[in-house]
């Protein structure tokens, strides 16, 4: 187990391949620290650079600029094996010609560990992963979820493993089996206290597994935080949109000295001192508010904005409303019990606590 640090890391594949012009960075200005024993996720859409970072941490790729430190020591020159990194891939990687026992024992056997110690350790790992009954089975015959557990087993069997890197490990797993595997991953991380870094584009996986999530976009880190922090306090419009289902509503607006926030032909008021703080940064902003914080009412509320209910999606637990106000569509949530139909008029209010203001994509207040 180790504390992993990425310091001023920049990487360009173009430069790596020798292109001298029109090169681009796949990842830019990366600075992160992952404490020893933490459950971490790298989250972002395809092409955001998360796989590149994973390769840099594992040692497969040497960054164009910057360094990788394990427990304070620079490991930039060391290979994956030398860094004691274990990896679980997108599709299960098992040695088909060996049984499950042989697979999990493999790293230790290669290290020259004596067979008694190996035996003890393999059984320990198999028990944690609930694979004890499958030890004698040829690894090739297992289903994908079981194979991934074997992969993970190989990753954690060595006591000096610095970190386990998981690259979208649930990709080929059947939706029904995913829950069990997610739970097992989290359980293993907690029990064995490994540093585990989970790379994915699925916020569900990331937010469930990790205590610390790094959201990336186009090669840059947008924000690192706990799931609650990312949800409640997004530092960029991207994080606001990407986290949450549905994502945050984004509206271009202008703020005036008297506290009027105007967008799309309509407006509402915020407290003057709040407005004053905002106006220090200019007067044009992007307003963000989560659908669940939009106050929706079917009864007339004086001073509230109005809109027409365009769409009601009833999930059984609550309703997701799409409300159109002129040219802008807003999403809101209504409790299951609210009687609201498509075509109804809705009165909307934006409680100040739920408002986030962004400028040029970045959080202002």
């Amino acid at each position: 187990m180790a504390t992993i640090e990425l310091k001023d890391v920049w990487h360009s594949y173009d430069l790596e391949e020798g292109k001298s012009k029109d090169w681009q960075y796949a990842v830019e200005d990366i600075n992160i620290t992952y404490e020893n024993g933490s459950a971490v996720a790298l989250l972002g859409p395809s092409g955001c650079g998360k796989t590149t970072l994973l390769k840099i941490i594992s040692g497969l790729t040497k960054p164009t600029k910057g360094s990788v430190l394990f427990d304070g020591e620079d490991v930039s020159e060391l290979s994956a094996k030398e860094r004691h990194i274990a990896q679980v891939f997108q599709f299960p990687v098992v040695y088909d010609s060996m049984n499950v026992y042989g697979n999990i024992a493999f790293p230790l056997a290669n290290d020259g560990v004596d067979s008694d110690t190996i035996r003890k350790r393999v059984y320990e790992v198999a028990e944690i992963l609930e694979l004890t009954d499958l030890l004698k089975q040829p690894a090739g015959r297992l289903n994908p979820a079981e194979k991934q557990k074997v992969s993970l087993g190989r990753g954690i069997v060595r006591p000096n493993t610095a970190a386990v890197l998981l690259d979208e490990p649930l990709t080929v797993i059947d939706p029904k089996a995913q829950w069990g595997l997610r739970r097992k991953l989290k359980q293993v991380q907690k029990e064995l206290n490994f540093t585990m870094i989970y790379v994915t584009h699925d916020q569900h996986e990331a937010l469930t597994f990790a205590e610390q999530v790094t959201v990336m976009q186009v090669g840059k880190i947008d924000q690192t935080g706990t799931p609650e922090q990312l949800h409640e306090d997004p530092h960029s419009t991207f994080v606001g949109y990407f986290i949450g289902s549905p994502g945050m509503n984004m509206l271009d607006c202008t703020v005036q000295v008297d506290g009027t926030v105007a967008y799309n032909g309509t407006s509402f008021k915020i407290k003057k001192d709040f407005a004053a703080r905002l106006l220090e940064h200019g007067n044009e902003f992007t307003l963000g508010i989560r659908p669940e914080y939009v106050d929706v009412s079917t009864q007339k509320v004086s001073g509230a904005m109005t809109g027409a209910v365009k769409l009601v999606e009833d999930t059984g637990a609550y309703k997701i409303l799409t409300i159109s106000m002129d040219s802008v569509d807003l999403k809101g949530r209504a409790p299951e019990t609210m009687k609201i139909e498509e075509g109804d008029t809705a009165w909307l209010q934006f409680p100040e606590e739920g408002l986030k203001f962004f400028k040029d994509g970045k959080k202002v207040i």
């Binding site: 891939f89 997108q90 088909d96 010609s97 049984n99 190989r154």
Partner: protein
């Protein structure tokens, strides 16, 4: 289902061709094998007498023995050599095209041309091989020496057909996802262990194919020995197919028919056994759990 039935119709042309070129001649051979045939005279039904005569004939046994030895040597050398070549070929860049062409050339040359080219190479008076070997003091004579002849045929076959194994192994090798090698590296596997636990198992389907193809092909080798040595000196390079063909050419059709059916039977049984063995081999080994 409707469209399944239509599919069978598409097979008719192939089945017709097969019937004409394989099935009917086969039936003719079976017919021969059960009769005693003497030129001109009416064939006499002798039941299995031909078969017994063939199996007892020391010349048949000799040809079969030589054939088995040859095939075993071929497989023992061409399989590992082909794999080794495949693994050392470049995976990307301009070298790929060059290697593929170099490997492909021997495969593209027809059997008889190969035979003639090698005969020219090995001919005592004008050949390159005897000349070069004389420099190291070895007097090489393919038409007289009972060791030189089969060894030459052997080397010819290795040159001619190892590329097939290499190409198959190469294609199979390229198909192995990189992740497996990374995992093996992380697991600290040595080069040999990586080969044994990642490359070889993943190449298995392709290698089984290569093995069976080489087995069946080498077991019926015909044109090369015929052109190079004519089966000699003596019968040192008379392998099974040449042996049977000669018998047929000298109108011992009953004998030849029986011999060729026994030949067919041996190939079929061995192919089946090899297939079963190779596909089941090495599944689920590992330390005792």
């Amino acid at each position: 289902m409707k469209y399944d039935n239509k599919a069978w119709l598409f097979l008719i042309p192939s089945l017709a061709v097969m019937a004409l070129s394989a099935f009917i001649p086969l039936m003719t051979v079976v017919n021969y094998s059960l009769h005693y045939i003497f030129s001109g005279a009416i064939p006499e039904f002798v039941g299995f007498a031909n078969f017994i005569e063939v199996l007892r004939d020391p010349k048949f046994q000799g040809a079969l023995g030589r054939q088995l030895l040859f095939t075993i040597a071929i497989l023992a050398v061409q399989m590992p050599l082909g794999i080794a070549i495949a693994l050392s070929m470049p995976k990307k860049g301009v070298g790929v095209a060059i290697s593929l062409v170099l490997l492909g050339i021997p495969l593209l040359i027809p059997y008889n041309v190969v035979g003639i080219v090698w005969r020219l190479f090995s001919q005592s008076d004008i050949g390159l091989i005897p000349e070069v070997l004389s420099w190291i003091g070895y007097s090489y004579n393919v038409s007289l020496d009972p060791v030189d002849a089969p060894v030459t045929i052997f080397l010819l076959d290795v040159w001619h057909w190892t590329p097939l194994v290499a190409l198959l192994a190469y294609a199979g090798y390229l198909a192995i996802p990189d992740a497996f090698y990374r995992a093996a590296e992380i697991d600290g596997a040595s080069r040999w262990k990586t080969f044994r636990y990642v490359t070889l198992p993943k190449l298995r389907p392709v290698l089984v194919l290569g093995f069976l193809l080489r087995f069946m092909d080498s077991f019926k080798i015909y044109a090369e020995p015929l052109l190079l040595t004519g089966g000699g000196p003596g019968d040192t390079t008379t392998f099974m197919s040449l042996f049977v063909a000669r018998k047929a050419q000298s109108y011992e059709l009953g004998y030849a028919g029986a011999a060729s059916l026994i030949y067919l039977f041996i190939v079929m049984v061995m192919s089946y056994l090899f297939f079963q063995l190779l596909t089941k081999l090495g599944q689920g080994e590992g330390q005792k759990a």
